[in-house]
């Protein structure tokens, strides 16, 4: 049992950091409180470094844990830049002013009850801990607990993200609907256990394979119903139809920084869980299709999710709702990769492996999306009465490229990448989904994907056009958009924009392939598996894509 800890060093690092942050966030000294963000970042760095110690725990997807943890640590750093300064900014500056103005009189003492800084960062870390645990899950109970550890802190983060009623309403909605989603997949897990007699994913895989191999060749209906309920329940985490209803309200109610967090963390957790479950079912002996009712359910979910997300995004005027529904649509795209599966046995390339495509898409989407929300988070609108409020409408980014070129172009880059425009990261992420879908023979679904990508251009280009083509607003009339005082947030936008350009050039794709390494062949060849297990990606590029040097002449 003790060896299990060896697979958990990154999580332990994050957990310890969370405990530390929780305590120092309540320090009476402002200097110590200010360290919260730095300590969180150090914790993430440590976790990222420790992620490379992760052994292959999940027999069906041996690379998933390592890839997931490393990716979470990386994207987590960008999200941290984005999340910095979400809470307590006004309170800290009120204290720094010595408590003057805004109803205060004279010297102000620090009141821990009014501060939520430590809690915010701690919850941030707890949620990422849960996400890493999800990536390494080998058991249904573990998977459930990890998923909930990912989600529970986010409910609180939404609620405290801004002091406004809207956040609290959003938090409550998110919590109740989230509980419903969790209940659904917990019920599914229970039935899965009932249908296979084990909670271990490896055991489930063996049991399901035995059921299919038996004469009659069907997965037990109880197990299948459990699988389907699990998939639908996890659909809440990835905001897939029919569990998508909360998305827009919650993203709009939360502050942009937390919305950016929500768009990546639960979604990544959901996809890690979906991949683990589907890997347990197996994409068939030739890696082509999932067992039948499950495939149909996923198929319908994917098609509906894309279509509903895009259709709803088209009619929005609120930029945050647009991004929320686009987030729904992106989940639909990624479900195509889940359906497609790992491609031909022996490890496909990025163009044939749906699993690798999903994993790479998660990375691309997380990075890009953090950028677009960061731009929103960097700005606030000044109302006529002098109060500042968060940016919401597409109108607010009009002429941004002229007024604030760096932020404006960062927004345009991230939106174009979300759209999947060729030279950017989003394109290189979306292309493999097409390839994997075609390779798996899901032609109809790929057509739906293509049509939806075209529809998506409508609203993404609207945002980009507002930022690029419209004249600047500075010096034209009283309504003005100004930067917030959050100092690190622009960095998130710039890092994301740089990543969107740079990662498209540098082949991180090979890295995603490592994560998608298929367990099927490893399972059939014990010797190979033993050889594969300690294989750490000292050179992930060479390990996957670059196996062939430039084709030598014969």
């Amino acid at each position: 049992m003790i060896e299990k800890i060896q697979a958990l060093w990154p999580e332990i690092a994050l957990f310890v950091t969370a405990c530390v942050v929780m305590v120092i966030g309540l320090s009476p000294s402002a200097a110590v409180r200010r360290l919260c963000g730095v300590v969180t970042g150090l914790g993430l760095l440590a976790a990222g470094a420790l992620a490379y110690t992760t052994p292959a725990v999940n027999p069906a997807l041996p690379g998933l844990a390592l890839y997931g943890k490393a990716m979470v640590a990386g994207i987590g750093l960008v999200l941290l830049l984005l999340a910095s300064g979400t809470v307590d900014r006004e309170y800290e500056s009120f204290l720094a002013r010595g408590g003057e103005g805004a109803g205060g009189q004279g010297r102000a003492e620090y009141e821990p009850l009014r501060s939520t800084k430590g809690e915010f960062y701690a919850f941030f870390l707890f949620s990422l801990t849960g996400l890493m645990l999800t990536a390494g899950a080998t058991d249904l109970v573990w998977l459930f607990l990890a998923l909930e550890l990912t989600s529970l802190p986010t409910y609180v983060m939404v609620t405290i993200s801004s002091g406004r009623d809207r956040s609290m309403e959003a938090g409550v909605k998110y919590f109740f609907l989230g509980a419903m989603g969790a209940a659904t997949f917990l019920y599914g897990f229970a039935m899965l256990y009932g249908g296979t007699g084990t909670t271990s994913l490896g055991g489930i895989a063996n049991a399901l394979a035995a059921q299919r191999a038996a004469p009659g060749g069907q997965i037990n209906p109880i197990a299948m119903l459990g699988l389907v309920l699990s998939v639908v329940g996890i659909g809440f985490k990835i905001a897939a139809v029919p569990m998508h209803f909360y998305t827009a309200d919650v993203y709009q109610g939360a502050s942009p920084s937390v919305a950016g967090f929500l768009a990546f963390v639960p979604k990544a957790a959901g996809f890690f869980a979906l991949l683990s479950l589907c890997a347990a079912v197996g994409w068939g002996p030739t890696g082509d299709t999932l067992a039948e009712p499950l495939r149909s359910v996923l198929w319908v979910m994917a098609a509906l999710t894309m279509t509903v997300g895009n259709a709803l995004a088209v009619v929005q005027t609120s930029l945050r709702r647009v991004l929320a529904y686009s987030s729904v649509a992106h989940s639909g795209y990624m479900l195509v990769g889940v359906i497609a599966g790992p491609g031909p046995a022996g490890g496909g390339t990025l163009m044939t492996s749906g699993v690798a495509a999903v994993l790479f898409y998660l990375l691309a989407y997380g990075l890009t999306n953090a950028g677009s929300f960061a731009v929103l988070g960097c700005l606030e609108r000044v109302r006529p009465d002098g109060q500042a409020e968060e940016l919401d409408s597409i109108e607010d980014v009009r002429g941004l490229c002229q007024d604030r070129p760096l932020l404006g172009w960062a927004l345009v880059l991230s939106v174009m990448s979300l759209l999947g425009l060729p030279p950017l990261l989003g394109f290189f992420a979306k292309l493999p989904l097409f390839g994997a879908g075609l390779n798996a023979g899901e032609y109809a679904l790929v057509v739906v994907l293509a049509l939806n990508s075209a529809v998506a251009a409508f609203y993404y280009l609207r945002v980009a056009a507002a930022a690029v083509l419209e004249p600047g607003q500075v010096g034209r009339g009283p309504v003005s958009v100004r930067p917030t005082t959050a100092r690190w947030r622009p960095m998130a936008a710039f890092v994301s924009a740089a990543g969107v350009v740079a990662l498209a050039i540098y082949p991180v794709t090979g890295w995603a392939l490592f994560g998608a390494r298929q367990g099927a062949d490893a399972r059939s060849e014990p010797a190979q598996r033993a050889a594969a297990e300690p294989a750490l990606p000292s050179d992930p590029h060479a390990a996957s894509v670059g196996a062939t040097p430039p084709a030598p002449a014969e």
């Binding site: 299948m224 029919p242 359910v297 088209v314 740079a502 082949p507």
Partner: protein, 763 residues
């Protein structure tokens, strides 16, 4: 940028640093194609840096703008970076020149693009970021980085009127250009070449449109970009065809297949490959190198700052077409008939003559140089077409130096005389104080261009001319080129006699650049006569070039003389350039040439019969020049033709001239026939008008028709389609009421539906 670089070099260090494909034993046959051998020469990291240094320079220059680092910092960054790149290129050259003929080094950076669609041969598309280094690469890179560095130094002074944001913008594009050019030349696969190809096109666009407030400059930039698109499309199709047929775009794998005449599956090639592939490639080359039907963008491109005209539109970028054909020469010799090469030769010869006639009647000296560039590019293409890759490459090499000299001299004049470029309003510039070096350099450049004996231009032009007469069936090309040589000498010295010698007289141009910062003179339309004529009004003082311009122009003049010396080293291999070309994939034994090295003088053995059996030429069919051996007599013939051209120019434009505006030619122009021809040539043979009538106008009309169709029909459809999601969204939005209960019920309903679906399906 820095991070990317780190990643790249990191990969290179850790991964496949020096990948190479095995040597090619059986490939010494027709065409002599490179195999690739493993060799420890040339550190790959340094090679990558040749391209990455300018990229870094671009990033740094871009940074100076927001950081408000004023002054000439961007120029010094550029000069420093390019000097370092040149140094590395020299090192690379020393590494590459140690290779045996047909060998190359491949520096494999990282896998830039890799897709796999199956397991068979040709199912894997790989385009690495890697460099293919052989002597052809090295030859091109030497003058790209060398000239780039010198011209950047020149530009540091030339662009000083724009110090600030514009200065940074200029040098960012300048650096980016050198980066793209390096990618184009050093690429180890056709896709990376295409990236560089598009990159230089983009930088050309950016730099032509540098004075973006000037409508002509913007229009010229657009024209250059759009005309190039047409050619680039052909090139792209060519690359795709090559991948389709050979299953690879990497040179190291492609050349052996080309040499063996086998496709991806090892089958013999279909006949169409032999002409479709070269034709598509030529399409791209014609666009980039401004050959006939595509050339119209290049004269207009002279709207850009002069250093750009010198570097991009004379010395380097426009020779990319020559490079492409030379690099892919094995593809051109696939076909027995090689009629694509015939097309190249014909097109080159016609272009040379055509634009030379236009150049004769222009008044704007920079435009004359522009047309002259087109004409000289025509020579190079004709050289390729008549199978002397050596001659073409040698002419590229010498032309780079003397044309850069000429442009930079014109630029100095433009800079000093407030944008004046009209040869009727400038005279005796050499005699103005401070213009000695420019005048002397101009003379050197003009002599080279005119093909005056013992200049570099003389030798390189001769190689092409002589070969044109030798290669069977190309004699008419030779005659056209010979006529062009005379015209070239005439228009070149027309400029020289009108502008640089003669009575001193100058009128400032309309352009006031260069006078805001340093001398601040009022310069109205009043003109001043100075110096010899003595009645200087004192309102306008030309400012003489300072050290940067003088030293660069002087250095280039010296180099363009020195380039002649390279003709005499390695005599067995037709000079230094001949050796470089002969060791690369462009190596091809032109009819009548030989590579045995038995004779010390390469030109006395033109009738040597040791021919490669390439099917196109037989010893018996070799041409002669009026019964003489072309290689032997061409020196005298072309010298004579050049001298006649210069003499005519002196008679018409030099002798007895009193003012800038008049010359002996004026009398000739009173003849109505001459005047008619002159007007035609002056209006560029109305090609722009014809293009407008034949292409632009129909397109414009079609555009408006389509616009109407679009508005009425397509928009209707699109709106209908667009309304569908909106309508759906509107319907769906009703459910997004924001009420918690509603959401919960909807989710529960969804779950119930799914469960029903499963129960229905399992039973």
């Amino acid at each position: 940028m820095l991070a990317t670089m780190g990643l790249i070099t990191g990969t290179a260090a850790g991964g496949a640093a020096l990948a190479a494909a095995p040597g090619a034993e059986a490939l010494a046959g027709a065409g002599g194609v490179a195999g690739v051998s493993v060799s420890a020469h040339g550190a790959p990291l340094a090679v990558l840096a040749i391209a990455l240094l300018p990229l870094l320079g671009a990033a740094l220059c871009a940074l100076t703008a927001p950081l408000r680092l004023g002054g000439k910092l961007p120029a010094w960054i550029t000069v420093g970076g390019l000097a370092a790149a040149f140094g590395l290129t020299v090192l690379m050259h020393s590494g590459v020149s140690g290779l045996a003929a047909g060998e190359a080094l491949v520096a494999h950076g990282y896998e830039w693009i890799a897709f796999q669609s199956g397991a068979g041969p040709g199912d894997r598309f790989v385009a690495p970021f890697g460099f293919y280094l052989d002597s052809l690469t090295s030859l091109w890179m030497l003058f790209v980085t060398g000239l780039g560095c010198l011209i950047a130094l020149y530009a540091s002074e030339y662009m000083e009127h724009d110090v600030g944001l514009g200065y940074a913008r200029f040098f960012v594009a300048f650096n980016l250009f050198v980066f793209s050019m390096a990618c184009l030349v050093m690429a180890d696969n056709l896709l990376l070449l295409f990236l560089g190809w598009e990159g230089v096109g983009l930088c050309s666009y950016l730099l032509i449109g540098y004075f973006y407030k000037k409508p002509e400059a913007v229009a010229a930039a657009k024209k250059a970009f759009i005309v190039n698109r047409v050619g680039d499309f052909g090139l792209l199709l060519g690359i795709l065809t090559i991948f389709g047929v050979f299953g690879t775009v990497e040179y190291a794998a492609l050349f052996p297949k080309l040499a063996a005449g086998r496709d991806a599956l090892g089958e013999p090639l279909a006949a169409w490959v032999g002409w479709v592939v070269p034709l598509l490639l030529v399409c791209g080359a014609f666009g980039k190198s401004a050959q006939l039907f595509f050339y119209v963008w290049l004269p207009d491109a002279m709207e850009g700052p002069t250093p750009v005209s010198a570097l991009i539109h004379a010395a380097t970028m426009v020779t990319a077409g020559v490079y492409l054909i030379a690099r892919m020469f094995p593809a051109f010799t696939l076909d027995e008939q090689q009629w694509v090469l015939g097309l190249v030769a014909a097109s080159g010869a016609v272009t040379a003559l055509w634009s030379a006639t236009i150049a004769m009647a222009q008044h704007d000296i920079k435009r004359i140089m522009g047309y002259s560039t087109i004409s000289q590019l025509g020579y190079m293409f004709a050289g390729l077409g008549v199978l002397t890759t050596t001659g073409a490459a040698f002419h590229v090499f010498t032309h780079a130096f003397f044309k850069a000299t000429l442009f930079l001299c014109c630029g100095a004049v433009m800079h000093g005389f407030a944008g004046q470029l009209d040869l009727r309003r400038l005279s005796g510039v050499w005699w103005v104080k401070g213009w000695g070096i420019i005048g002397a350099a101009m003379l050197v450049g003009c002599l080279n261009l005119a093909g005056f004996p013992f200049t570099a231009g003389f030798f390189s032009k001769d190689t092409i001319l002589a070969q044109a007469f030798v290669t069977p069936g190309a004699a008419w090309v030779g005659w056209v080129l010979l006529l062009t040589a005379g015209l070239t000498a005439y228009y070149t010295f027309r400029v020289f006699f009108r502008v640089f010698v003669g009575p001193v007289e100058y009128h400032p141009g309309q352009d006031d650049h260069g006078h805001q910062g340093d001398d601040g003179h009022a310069h109205s339309s009043q003109h001043g006569h100075a110096g010899g004529h003595g009645h200087a009004s004192g309102q306008f003082h030309p400012h003489a070039p300072r050290w940067a311009i003088n030293s660069v122009v002087g250095a280039l003049a010296v180099l363009s003389i020195a380039a002649a010396a390279t003709y005499f080293v390695y005599p067995q291999e037709h000079g230094w350039v001949g050796k470089m070309v002969g060791h690369s994939t462009a190596a091809f034994a032109a009819p009548g040439e030989h590579h045995s090295g038995a004779h010390a003088d390469p030109h006395s053995d033109a009738h040597s019969t040791d021919l490669r059996s390439n099917g196109a030429a037989h010893a018996a069919a070799l041409g002669t020049f009026l019964g003489f051996d072309p290689h032997a007599v061409m020196y005298y013939v072309s010298a004579l033709v050049g001298a006649v051209g210069i003499g005519v120019a002196y008679l018409l434009h030099g002798a007895g001239r009193r003012t800038a505006a008049t010359a002996g030619a004026d009398g000739l122009l009173r003849n109505p026939l001459v005047a008619l021809v002159h007007r035609g040539a002056h209006r560029k043979w109305y090609v722009d008008e014809v293009y407008h009538a034949l292409i632009t106008l129909p397109l414009w009309v079609l555009g408006h028709v389509l616009h109407l169709v679009d508005r009425l029909l397509v928009d209707g459809l699109v709106n209908a389609v667009g309304a569908a999601p909106k309508l759906t969204g509107g319907r769906l939005r009703v459910q997004q009421s924001g009420v918690l209960n509603g959401y919960a019920v909807a989710m529960a309903g969804g779950i119930a539906l799914v469960v029903l679906l499963v129960v229905f399906m399992t039973n």
